[in-house]
Symmetry: C2
Subunit: 347 residues, 2 copies
Amino acid sequence: MPPNIRDIAEQLDLSKATVSKALNGYADVAPATRDRVRQTAHAMGYQASVSARNLRRGQTDKIGLLLNTAVDYAVDYLSGILPGAARSAQNLGKNLIIYTITDEDSTDVLAACRGGEIDGLVMFSTNYDPEPMNALLDENFPLVVVGRDILDPCVSSIVPDYYAGSYQATSYLIELGHRRIAFTTRPQLTTANKAHLSGHLDALHDAGLSADQRYVVETRLEPGSAAAAGRQLMALPKMPTAIRAFHDLIAVEMVNTLQYSGYRVPEDVSVIGFDGLRARFTTLPHITTFKQPFETIGKRAIEIIHQQIAGDRVAAVKDVLPLEFDERGSTAPYRESAQLRAHELGK
Amino acid sequence: MPPNIRDIAEQLDLSKATVSKALNGYADVAPATRDRVRQTAHAMGYQASVSARNLRRGQTDKIGLLLNTAVDYAVDYLSGILPGAARSAQNLGKNLIIYTITDEDSTDVLAACRGGEIDGLVMFSTNYDPEPMNALLDENFPLVVVGRDILDPCVSSIVPDYYAGSYQATSYLIELGHRRIAFTTRPQLTTANKAHLSGHLDALHDAGLSADQRYVVETRLEPGSAAAAGRQLMALPKMPTAIRAFHDLIAVEMVNTLQYSGYRVPEDVSVIGFDGLRARFTTLPHITTFKQPFETIGKRAIEIIHQQIAGDRVAAVKDVLPLEFDERGSTAPYRESAQLRAHELGK
DNA sequence: CCGCTTAACGAAAACGGTTTCGATAGTTGC
DNA sequence: GCAACTATCGAAACCGTTTTCGTTAAGCGG
């Protein structure tokens, strides 16, 4: 029903070929007819069929974003990445299409890749079986994994330098004079979490500090988990004077828990977060954190896919991005007041 | 390079037509050959070209999500809606493709609709000019506006019942015995914000309470804005005993501000939020709120588009969804302790 | 005026499926 | 044995665009 290229051709008594070339700006066509074609095309409300063009070109200018909705923070991660990715995609004339998998069912995503529905795929927050991923790589399908380092040297990945960031965070607290530094971990030790933990432990070790196991508490993202961890730390005979949370939401809950129990932040206890969420500004004081370079991650992911599509670079790219230190008010130099406070609070 | 339908046909000495019909399960083809075709198709790793199929069918099974990245909460809103929308889309065999506009530049989205890149469009968090929207409606293009009531009776919309929710929230506080109830508004009064405010004012009026202008404070989503509003309220000669925040993040910051100043929540002041964000669990106590039915919104948006595509229903749908009351610990019956507390804090 | 280049355009072949409309062979009914 | 079906398959059109290649006419130098 909408006008197609033939309608324009008949209207102007031209051929489909000339109309197409006129619209696409080929030098092959006289300036006068080019303008005529474009004017009537605009007047008729013509819009080229994307499917037809894609079929002919063998490309779709679409990039898939794959996330596992079963993972709790997947959607949040997406929303962090999206602005950068969308901006980058728009600059390159690409569209973003979202694929969600719940379990191990990655079949329709695979079908989308093989069927030419998308030109490339950005994977994140997802436990992918290497099975289909290798299949795609064999076909030289543009693929980028985000937020997780894949050992396979053939697959491109872009991952924040969790180890370095974690090392810096703990070192920063040590430089402030803190010696009893608590650390919250997640139950499942993914590569990212391992990097976190070892960065922390190495920083302690390099500073000549011993790692007390009681200062490493397991925390989940569920509400109340951080509060429980906080109470656990406050109940220790010698409570830590600084706490490292693996996530800003944990840090926020931790600060509120400490304050609720009568501790002052940062005078009694320093708290430092990780991620760079808006929620870290809801506490008083605001929370010092290491921000993930979300904007850059999204931007780079699309760029890498784009390069792979263009075929400029065959080798896999391994981006390691630094985290950004964002110092706010929840950290301060060490004072022994925390311990005094603990006694004062009647333990 | 990937195998197409002709390769399979030649391999089996059949015609393209038979192969296509075999793969699509037409009754037209003998069970034996059907199985043969499917087996070799699978063996060859065949995957039908999406572009080719779409071109012939005149559909793409893709639904666009349009959001304005210039709006601060747009991405958050998307992430709230996404799980429900994605689930619903997957059930219906649709894909979601994200379009971002920054300013008034909605041209390429329009091109996507006209060019058959998507079958329908869900618009939200965006100030759309009616110009292109009406153009799409004239062409009977499936369109749904989310989170904002459009006066035009021809355009489908799905919007939470902000007025009723706001009315309920204030009535709930009144029933708890509160008389001095503060209300935070946003600077720009959109239809949603207006509904919020009038719901609040009507609830006050219906309870025979006068609306004190000093209890209505302007708040932005930026960090620190809620804290300023909180201080403003605490400085009043008679500070409110209950505070309604238009957003959970505002509520969180408000609670923390109150507690930081020595007030107890909910003993001295009740605070109630709005939205249903994860962040409302980071405070102690957790924040009572009215949850937006995000899951339902996303689900319905896709369903409506799907119905419009199928042509089942021509008339516009106007969904008004109730908000869900989620009572937590930040609200309690009125006691005059807030005022005593204010004196006690040495004002 | 003639060969040669160049400008401008059109015919037709892709791209890879789906769908219509026959065509053929086998089967059934009587 | 013949007519009427049915089951199974294939030829070809079609979806709308891009792109190659050929054709025509004009321009141009000599």
